[in-house]
Amino acid sequence: MEALDSLMMGFATALTATNLMWSLVGVTLGTLIGILPGIGPALTIALLLPVTAKLDATGAFIMFAGLYYGAMYGGSTTSILLNTPGESGTIITALEGNRMARKGRGAAALATAAIGSFVAGTIGTILLTFLAPVFVKLALRFGPAEYFALMVFAFTAASALLGTSMVRGIVSLVLGVAIGLVGIDVLTGQIRLAFGVPALLDGIDIVVVAVGLFAVGEALHIASRPDLRDAEVLAVKGSLWMTREEWKRSFKPWLRGTAIGFPFGVLPAGGSEIPTFLSYFVEKRLSKKPEEFGHGAIEGVAGPEAANNAAVAGVLVPLLTLGLPTSATAAILLVAFQQYGLQPGPLLFTGSSTLVWGLIASLYIGNTMLLVLNLPLVGLWVRLLAIPTPLLYGGILVFSTVGVYSLNRSVVDLVLLYLLGLLGFVMRRYAFPIAPCVIGLILGPMAEQQFRRALQISQGDWSVFVTHPLSLFFLVLALLVFLTPFILQALARRMAVNAQGSAAP
């Protein structure tokens, strides 16, 4: 098994004292920002980019990966005890978890969330270990036309699935692509959308966009909504040792949650929200006591918590093997790779195999650290929730401006930060999802590059995208994803008409 050999080599990298330390820093920081509302993994990694520029790449990525995993663990704690999701992937956890906490079973909810995250994270990482080499082999056969078609598929999937409605997803995605256009075009030297501002010639930095949309937009949104601000923190009550019955009721939801979460992460369908919703409804359907749902059913915490961690592991498969980000955090991670001059994709596994396999091995280690950090120490973490919201957001915005200003030491970036914050505020208020915008910003220029390469090879013949079978396959998939909501709507309308027709005498 070449995957096992590579993994062993990876452990040799990950188990060095320095890398263990980076893993610990990552998971601790991840848990911290997961617990704090208003700051998530995408934002944190974006803010860390200027700081980590001087670090060794392997250490930095081990830290980032630990941070991404950790945020999912920490997010569940906030959902359960505060009824405000710490992360978007833990929204559904608040539903049952907070009810459990109100009934004095908060500790059991935290335990099933943490152990479920561990189980799902470990299984997900095992799947990543064995799937990655398969994906790499497949990806080696991709040419520019295939990559472009795959990105088109990722575009439609991201806009269709990452929000409340497809049209909002598309608007968000295209805004991201448009922001990505700003600056000098590499191929022709044409200046796009710079409006004579010299600072815009190099384009708008992804960090400014991510921090503006996530941090400033979120702060403006929460500050404008008094009803969102005051939530009550519940104390951890009950035993952290789950009872026999609780184990029995959690076990299958963990496995089912993993089975739902991982494929969603892998497919360019992106994100950890949808699988958590799916897992919740599956558990509700299968439960022997469906009446408990809505009143603190442990299955409703166990399933979705497993699903979001499995999805995070899944997201790493297309990111590492194809260079295709399917979530906002993955998009920022891709930028981090580029900052080190690395291009994720099949060549990463040959050119930087130490880094990639060290990173994958560190996920097993990080997961174990997280279980220890989150279960016995949960009482310590909970104290973070006592930080007054005004001070928390004050701190988040100060760090945001530090991160953005230190990119280029430019005040223009701070102006852009504010403008993008206003955009993020409007998007949040009117329910436009943010993640497609970040994905569009990263994937847009990449898609354009592959599009041009494909056409350069074909000497301007656009038919390459449909004559290559794999490329055609992805484009058809994209079309299907785009059309599915419309087809479903039409079907539902027809069924409603039919039902009315047969009900009439």
Binding site: A223, R225, Y393, Y418, F451
Partner: protein, 159 residues
């Protein structure tokens, strides 16, 4: 789905705003002069795709809003506290104008204070102390430990 007060006005503003944006992108692309060798994959193709997608989405949103359909643009509440938004805006703009004049420590403390005030904190003294501490510690950590440069401003030579 529409709540009273969260009316469709925003839907029209957003829809029209997107059309204006599409027009800006379109005009920007139209004035480019591209050598014919690149015409099949020139720098205008992606902007034009964006223009088409934005215009189509905007028209769809306007139609949904006008017809009161499910995709109508509306906020999930009509609650909006402008004081918070204004306070944070003032803080961020102060940072823009003052970071290189007063220096990072004071401008960041001002930002922190403004944000806390925007979140309706009623303890100005505590906030001011925390604000100064946070920005001072951040300044020292970033400039001394992490080797990043932040403007010292009026503390030039002192910090």
């Amino acid at each position: 789905m529409r709540l009273p007060g969260a009316g469709p006005k925003a839907g029209y503003v957003i829809g029209l705003g997107l059309i204006v944006l599409a027009a800006v992108i379109g005009f920007d692309a139209a004035r480019m002069q591209v050598p014919p060798a690149y015409s099949a994959y020139g720098p205008q193709i992606f902007p034009y795709i964006a223009v088409v997608a934005l215009t189509a989405s905007a028209l769809f949103l306007l139609w949904q809003t006008a017809a009161g359909r499910p995709d109508a643009v509306c906020a999930d509440t009509d609650k909006l506290e402008w004081t918070g938004v204004v306070a944070i805006s003032v803080g961020l703009l102060a940072q823009v104008f003052l970071i290189e004049r007063l220096g990072f420590v004071l401008s960041a403390a001002l930002l922190f204070f403004a944000v806390a005030w925007g979140f309706r904190s009623r303890r100005p003294l505590r906030d001011a102390v925390v604000a100064l501490l946070v920005s001072l510690v951040t300044y020292l950590v970033f400039t001394r430990l992490l080797d990043l440069q932040l403007p010292p401003g009026i503390f030039e030579g002192i910090l």
